[in-house]
């Protein structure tokens, strides 16, 4: 996986805020994955334009008390890639 790249969603999955679940979810054919808050915040910035570095910088700006987030973002993106939710371009 190219960590310098730009993540995009696998078209099999649709990401959205789900009010009834009070969390972000990934919807796919006949299924739904509920995301924890940090996973949701990361994926909310995946739009096919932002690079991984840009996503990290935005999150660090949004959550200034969280400190450096690079390692956490990379780890989660690794999992999301492994799960086939996202692709790296």
């Amino acid at each position: 996986m190219n960590l310098n790249g730009t993540p995009t969603f696998n078209p099999l999955f649709r990401f959205q805020w789900e009010k009834a679940q009070d969390c972000y979810v990934l919807l796919y054919p006949e299924g739904m994955i509920k995301l924890n808050p940090s996973a949701g915040e990361i994926l909310a910035l995946v739009d096919g334009n932002r690079s991984l570095a840009e996503i990290t910088a935005e999150l660090e700006q949004k959550f200034p008390d969280a400190g450096s987030l690079g390692a956490d973002v990379r780890e989660f993106i690794g999992v999301a890639h492994e799960q086939n939710w996202i692709r790296m371009q």
Partner: protein, 388 residues
């Protein structure tokens, strides 16, 4: 046989007496019972030809809105063949605006490039195409149609060409299960994202045709082994296609946790607006409410029908004292009713059930191929099952 709950008796439980229920995450909209195919394992009721008039567009839109408010996220457009509804594009557009993930569950008959584009533009998320077999002759014999297979192949290719996620669904049984390798090869060639190799469930039409459909244990074990070999092969090749193998409960010793529990996550609306906790429940001697008379919220939380088998107060022995009742909820209410005559009995699939001998007899029967012809699912045969 008509227990559509459309009379005055579709009462609600008094406030405070509702039993615990989850959110209806899955809304299945059976838009119509019309279908160009005649599959002998169809999940529609045997007496579909005697059911009430189809809901109009406005009714369906109201159902979609109310379902979304209750928390439904997955929406299935099903049937019959949902493509026979002229308002399908409109319903898809509404579903997308409401935030549903919408699934079109189709035979592919009646589909064309232009419709696929229109559905895409309206916001359809996924298409599931059902096949009857991997080769033309068997497929068309089962579908009761001479043109079905070629059309399905063409449409499956077009679905992928237009960038949709695609699930291919094969209902497996003794006539096609020995060719499971060819079924999987066909799915690889067509570029399916998921493949459902779903062994027939014996309700309605499939129960009528069980002797002709049920595979032998040896057939089943072979099919499962070959599926596992393909899983390993696909993984080694980096092919993300997923194979979902649904084992028939007739070869199990414990029942399935049917629908994840009665009235817990699944809500079906039939073509005439009857609301059901699963698509087979219409055969039960229970009155179910209709969306023309009640809001979906009242139906889900307060109707007698949806509360009927929630919790475990209704259970009899051996379920009542069973330490696995939280796991499988006593199995399937429809199967209990169809095989034992009492929907509150244990699902006879369970080896603890006093009626388990019926399952053993069916397994025995499956060792001997039946020469009897299929009872095809069509209007003429359905009339035989309609009474009154």
């Amino acid at each position: 046989m008509n227990r559509t709950g459309s009379g005055c008796s579709d009462g609600l439980l008094p406030a405070g007496q509702e039993k615990a229920a989850g959110q209806p995450l899955w809304l299945l909209a059976e838009l119509t019972y019309k279908c160009p195919l005649q599959c002998p394992y169809c999940s529609n009721p045997l007496d579909f030809a005697g059911q009430g008039e189809e809901l109009g567009t406005e009714d369906w839109i109201r159902v979609l809105q109310q379902g979304r408010e209750l928390g439904a996220a997955q929406l299935g457009f099903s049937g019959g063949e949902p493509l026979t509804r002229p308002d399908l594009v409109e319903l898809i557009r509404e579903a997308r605006a409401l935030g549903y993930y919408s699934n079109l569950i189709t035979s592919g008959l009646g589909l064309n490039e232009r419709k696929l584009e229109a559905f895409r533009e309206a916001g359809l998320d996924h298409i599931q195409v059902s096949f009857q077999a991997s080769d033309e002759e068997v497929n068309n014999m089962l579908a009761g149609s001479q043109k079905a297979f070629a059309q399905k192949l063409r449409m499956a290719r077009e679905v992928k060409a237009q960038g949709y996620p695609m699930v291919l669904n094969f209902v497996t049984h003794r006539h096609n299960i020995d060719r499971i390798d060819r079924i999987i090869e066909l799915c690889i060639e067509l570029g399916a994202d998921y493949v459902e190799l779903a062994t027939c469930q014996y309700y309605g039409w499939a129960l009528e045709n069980r002797a002709q459909l049920m595979p032998s244990r040896a057939q089943l074990e072979r099919a499962e082994r070959i599926t596992n070999e393909y899983r390993a092969k696909l993984a080694a090749e980096g092919n993300p296609m997923r194979l979902i193998f649904v084992t028939p409960d007739y070869y199990e010793e414990r029942p399935k946790a049917c629908m994840n529990g009665w009235g817990q996550i699944f809500l079906t609306i039939t073509p005439d607006g009857t609301a059901l906790p699963c698509h087979s429940a219409r055969q039960l001697p229970i009155e179910f409410p209709n969306v023309k008379q009640r809001s979906l919220g009242d139906i889900w939380y307060r109707s007698f029908g949806f509360n009927h088998f929630r919790g475990d107060d209704w259970m009899k022995e051996p379920c009542r004292s069973c330490d696995e009742k939280e796991k499988d909820f006593g199995g399937c209410r429809c199967q209990a009713y169809l095989l034992t005559g009492d929907a509150a009995n244990a699902d006879p699939v369970c080896s603890k059930s006093a009626h388990h001998d019926q399952i053993l007899a069916a397994r025995e029967e499956a060792e001997q191929p039946s020469a009897a012809p299929f009872t095809y699912r069509n209007e003429r045969n359905s009339r035989v099952f309609c009474r009154g």
